[in-house]
């Protein structure tokens, strides 16, 4: 059953088309990712679904309720964590949590089991002002506050932007746990590596949906074979690859260059090896690899 359904939603700001005929569905209990660069329209979509903004066109439903007509019911049953930290910086950790609980007319104690795993990390700092917390702590507190009324759907807008690698990893582990509790989660992120942790993802660019699939599905549909290329002089390698022939695409990616050939066969690979040896490269390593989400995203953007 679709918990979130979006049908042909469009939103235009004075001169920017933020969302252009967007449609997708999120099933119950799914961890659903919106992947896109900054300015792709992710936040606009979140604001429409959380009843903070009206769409120009199209329909959207959350929990079967219309975002315009039944906004009151939706507000009771969702948790929203905006991209920007927006809790009261001049209240303490504890006070923020209790305040948001009272807004839903419940006590912290009642739903403590749900947030326990997360809250335990910040409990030692519960008398500290929220504004004085570190980035990772702030995110955890914001997640606690968004969860305290036991929402059935959780909207997380770029929850890990500006958070260190360890906290990011912890944060995603928490999301997986919440998913097990049956909470449907819609999460947006500009980080491609986080996409593989989602059940399904939507790639979005300039307000348009590029692709909807499972992360594996998206990778499987990558049309070309992908190769990793490495040599002892990486800087020169990038430069030389720009002049190489028979190359379809080539990007620097971590310690390897990711490339695909226009005409892919054994001869082409040998030709490339020879060309690079001529250019004076040593320890050339060329091997076939699995494309990742980012490769797919770049590919889709090019179309």
């Amino acid at each position: 059953m679709a918990i979130i359904s979006v049908e042909n939603i469009s939103k235009k700001y004075t001169d920017i088309q933020a969302l252009d005929n967007v449609s997708f569905q999120v099933n119950e209990g799914e961890l659903y990712g919106m992947i896109g660069a900054d300015g792709a329209g992710k936040t606009s979509l979140f604001r429409i679904l959380t009843t903070l903004m009206l769409a120009d066109k199209g329909k959207a439903k959350v929990n079967g309720w219309d975002v315009v007509k039944d906004y009151k019911k939706i507000r009771n049953s969702i948790g929203y964590m905006p991209g920007r930290f927006s809790l009261y910086q001049d209240l303490t950790v504890e006070e923020n949590l209790h305040f948001f609980a009272t807004l839903f007319n419940i006590s912290v104690k009642k739903n403590y089991d749900l947030i326990q795993d997360i809250y335990i990390h910040i409990e030692p700092f519960k008398t500290r002002l929220a504004g004085k917390l570190s980035g990772g702590m702030k995110q955890k507190l914001a997640l606690c506050c968004a969860l305290i009324h036991r929402p059935s759907v959780l909207f997380l807008d770029e929850p890990t932007t500006g958070v260190d690698v360890v906290s990011r990893k912890e944060f995603w582990e928490m999301l997986c746990k919440l998913k097990k509790q049956g909470i449907t989660i819609l999460v947006s992120t500009p980080y491609m590596d986080e996409a593989t942790l989602c059940d399904r993802i939507t790639l979005i660019q300039s307000g348009k949906i590029l692709s909807i699939d499972t992360p594996q599905g998206i990778i499987k549909h990558y049309p070309d074979s992908m190769y990793g290329l490495k040599s002892s002089n990486m800087n020169m390698l990038i430069y030389d690859m720009q002049k190489a022939e028979n190359i379809k695409s080539c990007f620097a990616f971590g310690e390897y260059l990711h490339l695909s050939f226009q005409n892919d066969n054994e001869a082409a690979r040998d030709e490339l090896r020879n060309y690079l040896t001529e250019q004076g490269h040593q320890n050339i390593e060329l091997k076939q690899i699995m494309p990742n989400i980012e490769d797919c995203f770049i590919k889709l953007m090019e179309k």
Binding site: R75, F85, D90, E95, T102, L103, F104
Partner: protein, 371 residues
Amino acid sequence: MLRFLLRKEFKQIFRNKTLLPMIFAMPIIQLFILPLAADYEMKDISVAIIDHDHSVYSQKLTSKIAASGYFNITAYPKSFNDAFEFIENDKVDLILEIPLNFEQELIVVKGQKLFIAVNAINGVKASLGVAYLNRIIADFNTNVRLQCIHPERFNIVPTIRVTSSNWFNPVMNYRYFMVPGILVLLISLVATYMCALNTIREKEMGTIEQINVTPIKRTLFILGKLIPFWVIGLLVFSFGLFIVARFIYGIVPVGSIILLFGYLSVYLIAMLGLGLLISTYCETQQQVMFITFFFMMVFILMSGIFTSIESMPAWAYIIAKCSPVTYFIDVIRMVILKGSGLGDIQYHFLMMLGFAILFNLWAILNYKKTM
């Protein structure tokens, strides 16, 4: 629910270590200082006297001016050009020129002319200075006539003697008049600015988004913003009236305190509503500061605190009547100085109720639309 909202607001206000002392210190300090700035009595007007005569009479006139207490004779230049230089350098406000043969012609020809030049950059100082100086010269003239003319003949001329009595402020102490007015201004500033800035802060910090996704009602949220500053407004006013005004200026309200506070309560709701309204149209604290400043300047200067609104041109009078500050200044003076009752201020009461309803309703409607 409201209880929790209020608890949160008060916590935030009391935790703000710069704002809280300012809310209370500002009105008190300003109540000490500002009445001095609104002093209409002119003292220490600098005069240059050009005495071409050097006679007994001119000496007498000079010492009479010096003894009046209003003037400082700063220079005795030789010519008008010298004296004018003093005016240009802002050393002198007034020039009095006593012509040659002043004494002789006064007695022989029975008439003589004096010349007064005034630096009119400061209009109040200029007109008051000339008025004071004319009084002194007229007085001097009477003395001269008394000396020259037989008393019997002089008395034949019928004269009107004017005696005036100042009702409600017998010794014409301008402070009785100004201090309550200034108290109104301070209360207005505290209420409008605090409410507008506090609300815009929620917007700027993004916390309003987090509030808006909860099922909490708008009116409740707005009430949570109004009540704390309403209470603070009442406290600041009480402090100003019962402590500063009474013990420093000796002002004891003649009229009913309950009536005054009743009016204040409605007035505060109106001004808080204005602050809220401004914040719904703004995005940043800067915008709020500037727009509030604009409105408060107009409201204060047009409120009749310094100048009577009845003497304004008709269109300005209408603007003054559109300002809530005008009504409260009127009411506070009526109640404190005159002891007016509810019957006397019922028109003011209705107008203020109108303002309160208008501003708050408008703010709530616009809040719904813009958020």
